[in-house]
């Protein structure tokens, strides 16, 4: 064995290297305060190990990035753990870097002859920040997409070259495939390459000058191995425990919905850049140059000059105060930013929506149909459960309500002037409509022109329903049958069982539609179309296929069509004709109102 090692040493000289690595002299013996560098080195090891494995499963393009990360997170063996470790180790590394920097400055280890090494350390700090920034975009989720968009817009404000520089950074005029390929090349190639280079030089220089020992010495000198190594490894254990703790506490790294440029999202950076986010709010107009470029550049410049400033006793004191101020500013701005968001209702609401989207996309991606070739963005875009309420809140809720709310669970902004559409088409909804106590309430026609509050010109329908008050029990029973028959036209998924079971009742109801209800002068057919026969009047809706998918879509496209309200239409816009809603959007909102969306077989959506 010894001969073999001797042979190897003769050819590689490894013993000398091992010697230098392990037996560096530590004046005054091992100390806990020397662990920071090693803890960081350990973090970097963690990032390389996990990063390379993530790389093996990641695919950078706007149609595959989110999808591949989703697959890692949800489908691959321990993928959530791997991604979680990589994510939280990055965050912890930022914290450790700042602590390391503080320790170096407090211990005066940045002054001669260690200036160059200090600069390399600062370089490493900025490299790690750049790695965080580039890594944040890679999952191509809403969170990373919008945060990074703001960050790269900062590039564009650089004087003279800003616009070109931004194009080079994001790979074109807008975000897309090439933004990802570039960020990934930076994140997994260029920056780690530089990181290794800088670390090698950093450690080399560190060994060249030896450790800046803290005095007074408590013990005799010892070599690095084994006592300091042991302390460093205990630190590494603590780091690993913290990372795993964070992963478990937060249930892995979050993945929001896939990036969608058309979907509003409250852009916020990750916590370590929140201070900058807040800082930018204080600069008006083109002062953003000061907040985003000049002042940060000045601070960085000052950090690099600290070894020279620190030559004087007062200078060192200045450096310390400067660093503590920076740290205090960092904490203060971060706190302000979060405190403001916590109070901002709009932001909280938008975040809640984003959380719902993130939850829903998991259900859709996990559906038997899976993620289509074109990527997951289309899944949410064509999901009635997600889009229906948004479209409703945006376009319908200025008149209609959904369960008294705007579809997204917010209070209505304007007084309701058209029916509440929750459950529209169902027997329950229709039974309420023909209830004399309800027809003139806000839930149905209360806000419309069909009801005249001064007791004058009521619409014939409202008059008719009011007349039902005196209906005999027989008539009541017949009315319920008509309601069942008309409601069956909607073919609601939720009512299928009921409709199938009551087919006889529905047939009777249909006959009563023609023949009239006992005790009433007029039959439904006297005004409304039924069973393929058109309405006798152009101002009364044809009830054939009432509230079926096709019926609702055509109605929303053009309620003024003779099949519906004709010239008797109240204020319902002709959405299809005006282009306020596309055919697809109308389909989405209709499907949502009808309760038709994908639901996993065993779990119920909230």
């Amino acid at each position: 064995m010894k001969a073999l090692l001797g042979w190897l040493d003769q050819r590689t000289g490894y013993k000398k290297i091992v010697n230098e690595i392990l037996f560096e002299n530590i004046p005054g013996g091992p100390r806990w305060r020397y662990i920071w560098g090693s803890a960081l080195t350990f973090c970097i090891f963690v990032q390389f190990a996990t990063g390379i494995m993530l790389w093996m499963a990641y695919s950078p393009s706007s149609q595959t990035a989110w999808e591949s990360v989703y697959f890692i997170q949800e489908e691959m063996n321990a993928g959530w753990l791997l991604r979680g470790i990589h994510h939280y180790a990055a965050q912890l590394m930022t914290v450790l870097l700042i602590l390391h920097l503080m320790q170096v400055v407090i211990d005066k280890a940045y002054t001669a002859p260690r200036e160059v090494n200090y600069w390399f350390g600062l370089g490493l700090l900025f490299l790690v920040m750049a790695l965080s920034l580039t890594g944040y975009l890679l999952p191509w989720d809403q969170k990373g997409y919008w945060a990074t968009k703001v960050a790269t817009n900062m590039v564009a404000i650089t004087p003279v070259i800003g616009e070109s520089l931004q194009k080079i950074v994001i790979g074109g005029a807008d975000y897309g495939h090439h933004t990802l390929t570039r960020f990934f090349a930076l994140h997994a190639g260029v920056l780690p390459g530089l990181l290794i280079l800088l670390i090698v030089v950093h450690i080399y220089l560190f060994r060249r000058h030896g450790i800046k020992a803290k005095k007074p010495f408590r013990r005799a000198d010892t070599p690095f191995w084994p006592e300091q190594v042991f302390r460093d490894l205990v630190a590494a254990l603590a780091v690993m425990a913290a990372i795993l703790g964070l992963v478990l506490w937060f249930d892995g790294a979050h993945l929001s919905a896939p990036a969608d440029p058309a979907e509003r999202y409250p852009a916020r950076p990750d916590w370590y850049f929140m201070f900058l986010f807040q800082f930018l709010k204080y600069f008006k107009g083109e002062g953003v140059l000061w907040g985003g470029i000049y002042i940060p550049a000045f601070i960085v410049g000052l950090l690099f000059l600290m070894p020279f400033i620190g030559r004087w006793k007062q200078g060192h004191r200045f450096n310390l105060i400067f660093l503590y101020t920076l740290l205090g500013g960092f904490v203060y701005l971060t706190y302000i930013a979060y405190a403001k968001d916590a109070k901002d209702e709009e932001f909280q609401f938008a975040q809640e929506q984003a959380r719902k989207d993130a939850e829903r996309i998991r259900v859709l991606a996990n559906a038997p149909a899976g993620i289509p070739q074109g990527g997951a963005t289309s899944l949410l875009r064509s999901d009635p459960y997600t889009q229906g309420p948004k479209i409703f809140a945006d376009k319908c809720a200025s008149c209609h309500a959904y369960g008294g709310m705007d579809g997204l669970g917010r209070e209505l902004k304007e007084p309701q002037s058209a029916p509440d559409l929750k459950g529209v088409g169902s027997r329950e909804w229709l039974a309420g409509f023909v209830d004399p106590d309800q027809i003139a309430t806000a839930k149905y026609f209360g806000g419309t022109h069909f009801v005249d509050r001064d007791g004058g010109n009521q619409s014939r329908m409202v008059e008719y329903v009011m007349g039902l008050r005196d209906l005999s029990p027989t008539g009541q029973g017949e009315l319920a049958k008509v309601v069942a028959a008309v409601s069956a036209q909607a073919e609601l998924k939720s009512q299928k069982g009921l409709d199938d079971a009551d087919s006889d009742l529905i047939r009777e109801g249909s006959d009563l539609f023609w023949d009239g209800i006992t005790g009433l002068d007029e039959a439904c057919i006297d005004c409304h179309g039924w069973d393929g026969e058109e309405s006798s009047e152009s101002r009364t809706p044809d009830l054939t296929g009432w509230m079926s998918r096709e019926y609702m879509i055509e109605f929303i496209k053009n309620p003024e069509h003779p099949r519906f309200y004709g010239s008797g239409n109240d204020r319902m816009p002709v959405y299809g004709e005006e282009g306020t809603l596309t055919e697809k959007q109308i389909g989405l909102v209709v499907d949502w109102l009808r309760g038709e969306w994908y639901e996993p077989v065993d779990t119920q959506m909230p």
Binding site: K16, F23, A173, H177, Y282
Partner: protein, 201 residues
């Protein structure tokens, strides 16, 4: 201090030996060596050019690509816009090229349309001219508001509120009213962060 003993044999075979006195270079050889040095530096430079130049050329490729000028698109009918001047948001659909993919008729952006008392229509890109988030119409304040860095914009004119970080007002878009009440808009994006309204080419 513990040490691993270094073997005596670790000296390398080709280690530099001192040049013997009698081999000192004559002038001619010195000039030759100088030329070789110059040559080496030149060669070193030349061989590095093709890979670096090709690489930089590809890196700079985005500068060559222009965003195609978008034409006027029909957005809605004048009647669809509230007469009280409340703005309405519309998504703009157009073909989008993303590197190797073409996405036909996809959402490329959004605008607010606002009907004026004189029958004209104002159109604004929803992208905040500060740093590119999307502004929203705030009913409570009757203004446009960006939830990122809190820029606010006047509903009537689109100009930024005095204490807003944005360097300019919302970016207005060209509007044409055609065929009796159709609203057509020329959709464009603009460079954020600067006081001048400059279209992204």
């Amino acid at each position: 201090m513990a040490h691993i003993n270094l073997s005596e044999n670790t000296k390398l075979e080709n280690e530099k030996k001192p040049i013997p006195e009698e081999d000192a270079k004559p002038e001619k050889a010195e000039r030759r060596e100088f030329m070789v040095k110059v040559g080496s530096v030149c060669l070193g430079g030349v061989v590095a050019i093709p890979p670096i130049a090709a690489g930089v050329a590809v890196l700079m490729d985005p500068l060559r690509r222009k965003q195609g000028d978008t034409d006027f698109t029909r957005v809605t009918l004048l009647d669809a816009l509230p007469e009280d001047g409340t703005p309405k948001k519309f998504t703009i659909y157009a073909d989008k090229q993303d590197a190797w993919n073409k996405f036909p008729n996809t959402a490329i952006g959004a605008i607010y349309l606002c009907r004026k008392s004189d029958g004209k229509v104002d159109a604004y890109n929803v992208v905040c001219p500060h740093l590119g988030c999307a502004v929203v119409f705030r009913e409570s304040e009757r203004d446009y508001y960006c939830p990122c860095h809190n820029s606010a914009f006047d509903l009537e004119t689109g100009t930024q509120a005095p204490d807003s970080p944005s360097a300019r007002g919302l970016d207005s878009l060209e509007v044409r009213l055609e065929n009796e009440g159709e609203v057509w808009v020329k959709f464009q994006n603009f460079q954020p962060g600067i006081a001048d309204k400059k279209a992204i080419a």
